[in-house]
Symmetry: C2
Subunit: 346 residues, 2 copies
Amino acid sequence: MATIADVAKHAGVSSSTVSYALSGKRSISGETRQRIEQAITELGYHPNAGARALAGKRSHIIALVVPLHTNVYVPTMMEIAIAVTMAARQYGYDVLLITNDEGPEGVRRVAGSGLADGVILMDVRLDDDRVPVLRAQGIPAALIGIPDDPHGLSCVDHDFAAAGALCADHLADLGHRDVAFIGYAAGVYQRHAGYAERTLNGFRDQAEQRDLRFLHRPCEGTYESTAGTLARILSDRPATTGFVVQNEGAIGPLLSLLRATGRTVPEDASVMAICPDQLAEQYAPRLTAVTGPPNELGSVAVEQVMARISAAADGAPQPEDGLLLLSPDLVVRESTAPAPRRRTDH
Amino acid sequence: MATIADVAKHAGVSSSTVSYALSGKRSISGETRQRIEQAITELGYHPNAGARALAGKRSHIIALVVPLHTNVYVPTMMEIAIAVTMAARQYGYDVLLITNDEGPEGVRRVAGSGLADGVILMDVRLDDDRVPVLRAQGIPAALIGIPDDPHGLSCVDHDFAAAGALCADHLADLGHRDVAFIGYAAGVYQRHAGYAERTLNGFRDQAEQRDLRFLHRPCEGTYESTAGTLARILSDRPATTGFVVQNEGAIGPLLSLLRATGRTVPEDASVMAICPDQLAEQYAPRLTAVTGPPNELGSVAVEQVMARISAAADGAPQPEDGLLLLSPDLVVRESTAPAPRRRTDH
DNA sequence: TTGTACGCGTTATCAG
DNA sequence: CTGATAACGCGTACAA
């Protein structure tokens, strides 16, 4: 492999000149720049990453920590990972993939060894054991998801409250009066999982605003539990015509079950989901859904780490907080329609 | 950050002793080893990755090149990526994620800069433009998938011929006599895509062996094209009772269409797929399927690059070829059953 | 505008 | 069994 010294010799300049020509940190005469560039291409020179990291005190690598057994919809996860990788390249950075089976130790390892200049955490839990490590070591980081105490951290996530509100609004706009919210398993709410709670609150507030009567029912996401959940909803509130589902596992069963009880979607009942578009497209009928842009999640996280990395390098103060909530979009498809005329209207 | 010199001072030894204590490349007295280990934990020392790469001429990083817009089922891709990452850790290696939008240049970049010691390519096409780069630069690599000319390369893939044969055998065992193979779009076969062709050949050979009458029909994978394909099959060979599908997009439509034509699965028609288990489980009825182990694909690829990396480091000759085909498994689920008694049997 | 010289933290070679 | 010391290839203050 050619070194910078080889290039320098070949171009008849000193190696520092080559270095500056590459970094652009001082002006180079057009003529020498020519010679240098030519030498570089002729020799097929690539700066050695290790030497660069050692001398420059930056590896130009960020670590992306991905969950192993994930609650997240996998294609979405992949989309984020790819978005992160491409966004990082814009900054001249590469991405190191870390699986979460290393736990907090993995974060310490890559940051402590200078392998990575910063870290992006996916699938952040409320009480995430990696967060203390970030704080203790002052590691430049961005979190996708929001932990218990986001103080002093850069976080980005979907605006789930807004997502919930969008659902309430859409159903209200269509004239539905009795709606049900089918959510995650009860345990998820009991441990106050951020996204679940925020969605529900957003939905509740807007539902009240719009004078909707609504029921919230947790659901395991299996066929059986969905059947039980739906049965209870229909017996408690037979007039229910609108359903919001935030639980991937429950969507398929719900559609089947509604059909089985003689309700056609969307004529007799409207169903909408809070889920990735890709998933919403897979059902018949295709689902009206509320979604956030996954790749934006990735690119924003990259911006956030980059800001922290350069702040750390400049000795500048770290950006204090950075809670970014990305607005979700409503995409109307075939599973929602105006509420059926009510019996009492006849 | 503590350096090896700090540790040496703290333990009252020279830095080279610390280095050897860590690498184990020469024997250290039990006592000094104690002091060194204590110093390491007390100072929270992590060897600097850049310095290590520079001095040791190895980055301890492999690059994993993932496709952007993928033909592959995404969860499978993710599973492979995670398997690669975990397998690499066993060798003390980390994984750099490279998206294929950089093209062949990306491979050159990470290998040429010494950022990565080796490369794993996913979604390898027959005429893959990254392969020439590997050859020209002599980059240690492993391919997941098999290119046109695998000469001198390490490749690993599913044994699609065996997968095809398993399908033929299973249907024959169940007493089916007329079967149809619904494959990828015609273009895929016209450009002789390896996996498609190999599957079909394996299926054809075994079908002939077992005296099956069979039809191969390409299919776009949309609802409409599947409808057309099925219609033609049923008109050409009304006696068809067994279906093999190798095309994710066609599975759902096929099941719906069979139902719509009054055929229940598996009583009237058996359907089996060549697809990941995870996908097979998603349909109703759950599909009998032939699958290869995705994580093994990842770990084998890692073994292959590692062999090449250490061969390159030792100046040893590279392992010449390394074509590994992983045997697929048949998992019988609810979508296949003995062939219905034939009308002519009455 | 360009060149010189030092340091970054490890590993490997040579002595002892 | 252990210690000095020279690379490794690049970035950057300092000098010209």
